[in-house]
Amino acid sequence: MAVKLATCVAALRRRVVAAEWTARAGGLLGWTIAGCATAALLARGIGDWQRTESAWLFAPVVAAPIVAWVLARRSRPSAAAAAAWLDVHAGAAGYVVTENELGQSSWTPRTEEALTSALAALPRVDVVRAAKPVLAAAVFAAVALWIELPETVVGPPQAVSTAALERVEEQIETLEDALAVEPELAEELEERLEAAKADAEAGNPESTFEALDALEQRIEQAVEHAEQMAEQAARELNQAATDPNLAKAQDALKNALSKMDSAGLSKDLPKSVQEALPEGAQSLDGEQLSSAELAKLARELKGGLDARLAKLANGRLVDASKRSPGAHDGAEARVTPWAGPKFRAAAESRADARTRRSTSRARPRGAPINSSRRNCRRRRCSTLNRPRS
């Protein structure tokens, strides 16, 4: 079968580009995949990227065959070079190059005869050789994407910030459980806690701890205020229980109630007090109680106050060790066991707790910090049953 020179030249040029593209694409793809896999591995290991995010790093792989094609096109031989190649490889004794330069002649059958063998000698497209680096790189990429990496610790471990978050969350819960927290304060604490959680989830330990410190300071302020009010209220209650002047005693009781109310300490008062003073301090307006009634109310209010403070102490918001069980014996000691420098001691205790962060409980990676916190506002609203002026 006669083989035309133009057909052979075109076939050779195509084959050269194909062979060149295969060889270049193999190498280029291999290196690109390997490079992307390394980047993905580093991103997952150091940057804490997810698998799906790391997979985007393989985008340059798409460009590799295109670049290889552009480079391969450059090596496309000219028609003269292709004819010379065919002449040499077919042993055409110059017939091919002559026909390429002069066109067809009576010697063309000789050219076509020679070209028949040239077609069999066209450059081979070595797919296997090109596939080897690609396969090796693909295996590496698969390993880089799917291998489970040990958690990389950069800065304090995430467990530390998680434990700190949980601890502050518990403090807020204790505060809200012990006191009738103002809605504005509750809102502020909630927002700050959410911000700290967001920082922790974003992997910003510095921001997390800054937010937590600010939050703790705010809690401490609220507790300190409650302690001061409790101290003053206890003094007033003591006076109410012991003052022989019933008017003064009743005023003292009224003051104590208003101080407790202002610090949120009037939460969950005993039932007898709620029945006797349904509107709080206002119930005492225009009605003089007897000394027995005053003493009883003062005692019950004192009991409620102690219960509030005990809750704060249980939540380690105040120093429980300095609340003497015998404080109830003496009037002064009974009502101010936790007053004054005790708050400072409690604050020191909290600072010690901060230094023990590393030993705190760790939350499993990826688990929500505390979903129960979302219900806090609902619970808090239900506990804010005290009358508002």
Partner: protein, 339 residues
Amino acid sequence: MTTAEAALLAPADVAKARASAQGIQDGLDRTMLGQAELTKLVLTGCLARGHVLLEGLPGLGKTELVKALAALLGITFRRLQFTPDLMPGDVTGGHVLEDDGSGKRNFVFHPGPVFTNVLLADEINRASPKTQSALLEAMAERRVTVLGETRPLPSPFFVLATQNPIELEGTYPLPEAQLDRFLFKVEVPPVSSGTLEEILTTRRGGRPPEHTAVMDAGKLAELYRAVDGIYLPKAVANWIARIVASTHPSAPAAPEKVRTYVKHGASPRGAIAIGEAARAHALLAGKPNVGFDDVRAVAVPALAHRLVLDYRARLDGVRGPDLVRATLEAVPETAEIAG
């Protein structure tokens, strides 16, 4: 008629020329038993209208080869034995004072042995450089100038010189300028025992067979025209040019051997010699064009004697043909194609 038809010889013309050349080849092969390669190169050189330098030991049949060629071509042949006392005038001829019969004496030019179609310059390296130089103009320009008068040599004219690589005492190596005039320098190899046996059994006293002319000057001129009609493709010419350029040690494409051992590469005359010789070689192969194979066949005898070698080549036993072969290997016929 297409461009190709106009540029290429017709198959019938090529076949006819090849048959004529084959007649000469057969005759030469009958004289030189077992030396087909040699006879083909000599005939190639002859058809390329070039001068051939035959180098070989005494008794290998160099002189008989030249005599046979002249006899087969049917053209005039002169033999000139070069000796140290040979004078330039003995080659070119000279003026002799003669009486014209009327008592008047004139200087009459008596042509020397160079005025012939085929000149056998036997043992050319035994003549003095002065005498060797007398051949320069004749070989290069095919004319002779004596006492300011230039005379053309008969056409065709070519010199077939021989030289002996041994017994170098009292010889004068040919200068590079003279060597460059030779199209080919062909080494005559020793014959095999089988060939010797054939010589012994078929030739009494070693006398070669008598030859009758297979062509005349007119047919030879036709043969030359056929050689001139052989097409040299640009791709092949490009390869020849790159080969010759690469024989220079300063050339970027020069192989390492050339850089080490060659002092001066081949001249442009070398490239022309390859082109012409390749044309003749293609005709002998029955082709209308030169191919890469023709170039490969004639490159060594056409280029080896044109390289001026370094002293290190002599020390390491590297010769011109080795360097030309290294160059042929180093210079690809065409641009490299992967795969």
